[in-house]
Symmetry: C2
Subunit: 213 residues, 2 copies
Amino acid sequence: MGINRDTLGRKPRTRIQKKNTEAILDAALDVFSQYGFRGSTLDQIAKAAGLSKPNLLYYFPSKVAIHRALIDELMQNWLDPLRKMQADGEPVEEILAYVLRKLEMAREFPRESRLFANEIVQGAPNIMDKIEGELKTLVEEKAAVINGWIASGALAPVDPYHLIFSIWSTTQHYADFDVQVRGILKPEGDAHFKDAEAYLDTLFRRMLTPQAG
Amino acid sequence: MGINRDTLGRKPRTRIQKKNTEAILDAALDVFSQYGFRGSTLDQIAKAAGLSKPNLLYYFPSKVAIHRALIDELMQNWLDPLRKMQADGEPVEEILAYVLRKLEMAREFPRESRLFANEIVQGAPNIMDKIEGELKTLVEEKAAVINGWIASGALAPVDPYHLIFSIWSTTQHYADFDVQVRGILKPEGDAHFKDAEAYLDTLFRRMLTPQAG
DNA sequence: TCAAGGTTTGACCATTTGGTCAAGGGAACC
DNA sequence: GGTTCCCTTGACCAAATGGTCAAACCTTGA
């Protein structure tokens, strides 16, 4: 009999549970982010986690349960950088700080970015509700903030939605399309992220800085 | 016995072959672009093409063969917009025209874009050679053109590689992350592409137009 | 130390999957 | 009309896959 999921919830009861659930989620992140949900197998995940398949299924009741656990965890953190964009800051700097936070996340958490990308590209079968729910709400909220900044003259006029899309796409590109970027630039490690940072800073600064006069 | 692939090559011999290979490739584009290679099945493709599985395998020897045929066809057309960016044009307008061509492709050929995205996100197992080959060569060539434009003063100084990456990511975003975009904007059909066009035109125009003085 | 409960696994199962094959059904050219 | 080659399919196969289960193995706390 598997673990009582009702009582497990977020907090593993024992040391072993903690270690193994973490190992499983880490391994699953590796596998799912590389092959997508349907392209990943329990055997792959079990092997990557150093467990037997039945043992893996002792901790999670099914393949989808593992995936859901990952996605839930991811959605918690993924929107944090956007949430931190505050209306009371200096507009251009607030947005640029957001851009850099997103780029930093693409560098530090490329697997999470690719897990998300895989899910969206394939039609977001498991997170459509979250997209139309908390994500949409948050974006609308921040779009209003941006429109407020524009009205105050502190920001050049710009469609806030497409601005946000362009921030997402340009930053996540360095995680999601990593192999392409590396295939073209042939960088040493993460060296190209410095250039990307400078480029994106310029790109969005020029876009957003209001023109005098 | 299946079709003689040596003689088939690009040109189907008969009417029926033409019709069926086209139906298969179209169906396969649907399926592969949605589920990725490993997540797609021959049954799905056969059903979508209106053929039985053995019949499908009469035209293509294996699953990978179908995928390879698609990818090969795709790579032919995918780089055309970039190739069309000519050194003898007006720099800012040349690049902006490229941006709009890419956006147009994202709207007209989202399946192709997603097929490509799926392939790259999952590590580009089948096209790494093309990335490090013709793609890299073409990008380097165009980066040189852009650097020439910058040297002539007709273009603001900018890292040409990251410029190209940002053009790819912002435009393809509307195909690859289509469900997310639609989940947030809730547009009527393709109405949001007009706004995207205006936004990207502004974004890159501001980035690229050299500052007087 | 011993019981109770937590952990691990080999064997197993039904289904799905990529792929084969032989035989039958058509189109087309003579 | 008949022959030749093209096309189609039902039946089949081996391997892979998600998942189950009972039995055995550990930990831990009294």
